[in-house]
């Protein structure tokens, strides 16, 4: 088995499409890191000066004076403070410098929930493509039959290829995520941005779960292609599911559909639980407040365990169908 695994890893390494996808796994997160670095760079004196100039320019606009006049004439409509109407109207309507200083400083907690999730999602999609194109090539070129003339035990061949894809996804996920967050850590250090140990623990745990999801996404792409025996067919089905799947699930399950969307479950695993909107009456949770009123919400929490069970069952079903099909069906 070790020999077959080594062989499949070599085959993976020699495949051009795989090399291109691996390059994308490095370049896309690098581009995201650069974008984050640029978007969160500290404000300079020039930025502040530019914002002040824009405020001054806005203050000279006639429409602003007209608006303030309308506000003072009818403060109730604008919700202005009746005790000091003019000051209240000016406070509400006159532009302020901070309105033009929209660039937020680097915040690692935010990055974990935004670019961090984005990077993992992109890596998972690329890993799925990698698993698909890796074995799709074997089917398209017909070389699968040649391979089976040398190793006829199909379950071993299936398993060796699956392990190679999984291993590749895990290693690439680990390396890229570690590099990305090392870059974020360096950036934070350079900008004197502090993050607590608890925040780093959250980042580490999210990335560990993300690494696993990246590996399993590759495995899912591989298993689907072994089932459909064509890269194009697999990509077509994935595309159709992405576009039409949510519509179908929504039309069948109605307001409670979000619970069963793969993306919601993916986020539940990644974020150690996630909230989703359940518009059905069963999904409404009401609690009595201290003042006796009832407060109701349609937001429900999907836990890590629930998301894991959902995606785990989907993956196991795909893998079982894929392995069964490979063992039973004739190979062209």
């Amino acid at each position: 088995m070790g020999r077959l695994l080594g062989l499949e890893l070599t085959r993976l390494r020699w495949r051009r499409a795989v090399v291109v996808l691996l390059a994308a796994c490095v370049l896309v997160p690098a581009a995201i890191w650069v974008a984050v670095a640029v978007e969160t760079r500290p404000l300079t004196d020039a930025d502040v000066q530019r914002a002040e100039d824009q405020v001054q320019a806005e203050l000279q606009q006639p429409y602003l004076r007209d608006e303030i006049e309308r506000c003072t004439e009818d403060p109730q409509m604008y919700g202005a403070d009746p005790d000091d109407v003019e000051a209240s109207c000016r406070s509400m309507l006159e532009p302020r410098v901070e309105w033009y200083l929209t660039r937020q400083p680097l915040d690692l907690a935010n990055e974990r929930e935004e670019s961090g999730i984005g990077v993992i999602t992109i890596l998972a999609a690329l890993a799925m493509l990698l698993g698909t194109t890796f074995v799709g090539h074997d089917w398209n070129s017909g070389s699968m039959s040649n391979q089976l003339l040398f190793e006829p035990r199909r379950s071993r061949v299936w398993l060796a290829k699956a392990l190679a894809v999984l291993l590749c996804g895990l290693v690439v996920g680990a390396a890229v995520l570690a590099s990305y967050w090392t870059g974020a850590w360096l950036l934070a250090g350079a900008r004197d941005v502090q993050a607590s140990g608890e925040q780093w623990a959250l980042i580490r745990n999210q990335n560990l779960r993300g690494m696993l999801l990246i590996g399993l996404a590759g495995l899912a792409g591989y298993a689907l292609t072994m089932l459909f025996r064509s890269t194009v067919a697999t990509l077509g089905i994935l595309f159709a599911f992405t576009v039409g799947g949510s519509i179908v699930i929504s039309s069948v399950l109605g307001e409670a559909a979000a619970r069963w969307l793969p993306s919601t479950n993916f986020l539940a695993i990644l974020q150690n639980g996630t909230e989703f909107f359940n518009g059905s009456t069963e999904g409404q949770a009401c609690t009595e407040q201290a003042d006796g009123t009832m407060s109701c919400t349609n937001m429900e929490t999907l836990t890590l365990a629930q998301g894991s069970v959902y995606l785990g069952v989907v993956l196991v079903v795909i893998m079982a169908a894929s392995l069964w099909s490979f063992q039973r069906r004739d190979v062209p």
Binding site: R3, R11, S143, Q147
Partner: protein, 311 residues
């Protein structure tokens, strides 16, 4: 140890069409390929040759029937004998973006075959110097030779070649046939699937003829062709020879100065009868049925059926 490297009995393969109809590609076929020599597997296109080979190699599942390679039941025991079997099924199938060498390296590694054997196989099929080129840049002949090199990696005792000369130029065909003959002489049993009659007659020691998925005949090529029952006789005076031979009990016909003598009696009796009357032979040639005649006679009724039966 079995006297046969390949044995199949009651082998049947059914395919289901998209309309749900069942089509039978191989009808309860019995096949026995003796150890040693080159065995032809002859049949029209679509007669079930490739399907049979694919079942023997575990690439297709038989609907029913039993198969053995080297006495081992397959596909269950295929892993035990696969190291002794080399095969090219239909066209060569390799990764087009890898070099010939890389393709062979990957196959060799799956059986733990060393790199020296890869180099030796490449040299055997005269691909040295081109092994670092991408497979997709190879000519059809080179692809075919690479496929044969792949079969040689395992030093096989049984070589299964499915239409190995398809698409090759005459030089390539000659080269492949020579390789097959050499392998046969070296003790490798070769099963050569072909619809080219001359190829089988030229290269094979024995043959099985199938049509529409059924075995029609099997045996040594000479036996399939039958013993000679007629001779062509050319003499200076054919009319006199005709009279002499007819008087001596031979059945003789005369056409364009050439006599056709039909009799189960040996040729020397023709010589003796003519010699006694001072008629001397310019030519005495045994007339044998060629494989084409045998083949067409056996498959005539099957060829049409084969078109919808084979895959």
């Amino acid at each position: 140890m079995s006297d046969y490297v390949i044995e199949a009995s009651g082998l049947r393969k059914e395919f289901r069409t998209r309309r749900g109809e069942v089509r039978v590609a191989v009808h309860d076929l019995d096949l026995a390929v003796p150890t040693g020599g080159v065995h032809g597997f002859l049949g029209p296109n679509g007669s079930g040759k490739t399907t049979t080979i694919r079942m023997l190699l575990g690439l297709a599942r038989p609907t029913r029937g039993a198969m053995r390679l080297f006495g081992t039941p397959v596909p269950a025991g295929l892993a035990q004998v696969i190291d002794r079997v080399g095969a090219v099924v239909e066209s060569p199938k390799f990764s087009p973006n890898l070099t010939g060498r890389q393709n062979l390296d990957l196959l060799a590694r799956s059986r733990g075959i060393d790199r020296a054997s890869v180099a030796a196989a490449i040299a055997t099929v005269n691909l040295a110097g081109r092994e670092r080129d991408r497979y997709k840049s190879y000519s059809l002949g080179m692809k075919q030779r690479l496929a044969i090199a792949a079969t040689l990696l395992k030093s096989p005792q049984l070589l299964i070649l499915d239409e190995p000369t398809n698409g090759l130029d005459p030089a390539g065909i000659r080269e492949i046939r020579r390789t097959i003959e050499e392998l046969g002489q070296a003790g490798v049993t070769v099963l050569l699937s072909s619809h080219i009659l001359a190829e089988v007659q030229q290269v094979c020691d024995s043959a099985t003829i199938i049509g529409n998925g059924r075995m029609l005949a099997s045996g040594k090529v000479d036996d399939l062709l039958g013993t000679s029952l007629a001779h062509r006789v050319r003499v200076a005076d054919p009319a006199a020879a005709l009279r002499v031979l007819t008087d001596d009990g031979f059945t003789v016909s005369h056409l364009d100065g050439v006599l056709r003598v039909e009799s189960e009696r040996p040729a020397r009796e023709i010589t003796a009868a003519l010699g006694r009357h001072g008629i001397w032979l310019d030519e005495l040639t045994p007339l044998r049925a060629d494989l084409e005649t045998v083949f067409l006679g056996l498959t005539e009724g099957d060829r049409l059926g084969a078109e919808d039966g084979g895959h």
